[in-house]
Symmetry: C2
Subunit: 292 residues, 2 copies
């Protein structure tokens, strides 16, 4: 049996009792460690599980999945995923491959950022499609998120923005000289995300677009280490959130851009996290009142 | 401290290790048992936790939350919620009340149907807003879900439909005669949901609406006991899903109505669950191809 086991969002104790029992008994244990990370390191997990873990990087999962699935028709293989196993496309691929090999698959779900973000006080019912934000470079500034955020805002819905993480990325300069050296891991902060959103909005407006999607006065909530002991939320305009990284602290960060179809409870709950409560109230009153 | 602890979706072993440790030590333990249920009963939970649990019904949580919060400024109170604590509005209210009383609050997240539904193979990124479907009566047929589903479909997005549960509902005939008798619990099935969707679509079309939102050939996935050992998915048209209850088995059920903005992986994954694979392929090819 292939077990896809969610680890939740924060530390080694966020695994479910069911998941832990399977990990303790499985023949082999893999940890997918490139679409997200826990706030604790691999040795902590290994000592807690009493097991050694093989880290599965993107290359292994996407190009060498048969190594993971080897023997899983007769023994148990545990594949650990931060959050919930079905947050990322990659794992769908792994299940399809297991099906081809007639290997039975079971999933042990856990908290995902897609539901855990509800802890910021915005109602999960009011979220539209989720988007991802990647690190911009000089030559690569993918702005497809903008149209999706605009679609959500057109309906008055919130948008969860998942922020880029770069783990085990090769250094291209070294690679050009024939040496494989990995860059240190990078995790996008709420500040970087807010700045990139403002840049793209500005470009759209300069190009004749209407704007009003993610401009400086758009309200948002920055989230850090959701579900962990040091969980932190900071609410404000995108302009304010450009400077919220110190208040939010270490990774992982996410961001929610608010839609206008709000509920009074959401106002009361989120206001507590506002950088500037008066500014928050003023903009909310002007632009985020429930329409009915 | 008030701890809001998610129990996950299925049985007593779906609690996280972190959550279980808190339950074992808390002064009092409440179980919210009206917005969702586990597939196991209260005595099973009590014996697994080694604790007695007080069931908190809607009236208690909404009108008598101070009883739950009593003493939580100096001792630990655990409030258990099926799924993730922030799936339902009610718990936001409880946190706001705790804040007023200066009681610190911590959340222990867990799997929610809102992310667990990813196990059906549809990508969570492609979901729009979530809607609820209530049991229609002769005089009460709320159709507000229709506009929201139409909004999602307009963008090509999937819609998760959460199905009504009726727990501890008074029998109105007895009540009129002055006796409080509770109805047996009722859980909406995928078949009932599909029939109600078809009815509302038909009414819209009769009234001159365009239709094409949730008609007989709309593709959907019925889900039962997501995250549990007996998890089951059945995919088909809404017309086909009207008769899928036997294949799906006991509660809880949910339904996903597909949007047209699909990914090839979604097709490959979900096809496996189709009632009639040829029909599924034909309709998918005609109406659900990725537009770009």
């Amino acid at each position: 049996m292939l077990y896809l086991i969610g680890l939740g969002l924060s530390d080694e104790t966020d695994i479910t009792v069911k998941g832990l029992e399977i990990v303790k008994k499985a023949s082999r244990v893999y940890l997918e460690a490139y679409t997200s990370i826990l706030l604790v390191d691999q040795p902590t997990l290994e000592s807690y599980y009493g097991r050694s873990i093989e880290v599965a990087d993107r290359e292994m999962v996407e190009s060498n999945s048969d190594a993971i699935l080897r023997g899983a028709d007769t023994e148990d293989v545990a594949f650990l995923v931060v959050g919930d196993p079905f947050g990322a496309t990659t794992h769908t691929d792994l299940v399809l491959r297991a099906r081809e090999l007639k290997i039975p698959v079971r999933t042990v779900p856990n908290a995902s950022i897609m539901s855990g973000i509800g802890a910021c006080g915005l109602q999960l019912y009011n979220f539209g499609q989720t988007v991802s934000m990647v690190f911009f470079t000089e030559s690569w500034r993918p702005a497809s998120f903008y149209d999706r955020v605009a679609e959500n805002r057109g309906l008055g819905l919130h948008t969860l923005v998942l922020l880029d993480i770069k783990v085990k990325e090769p250094n291209f300069e070294s690679l050009a000289r024939g040496r494989l050296v990995y860059e240190p891991p990078r995790f996008m902060s709420v500040g970087t995300c807010a700045r990139q959103m403002l840049e793209v909005e500005e470009e759209h407006v300069k190009a004749g677009g209407e704007g009003g999607v993610c401009g400086p006065d758009a309200l948002a909530v920055g989230a850090a280490r959701v579900g962990g002991k040091t969980e932190r939320f900071v609410a404000g305009t995108l302009r304010e959130l450009c400077d919220a990284d110190d208040a939010l602290g270490p990774p992982l960060h996410s961001l929610v851009l608010l839609g206008s179809r709000t509920h009074e409870l959401e106002h009361d709950f989120v206001r507590e996290f506002a950088v500037d409560k008066e500014n928050w109230d003023r903009i909310w009153k002007a632009n985020y009142q429930p329409s009915t």
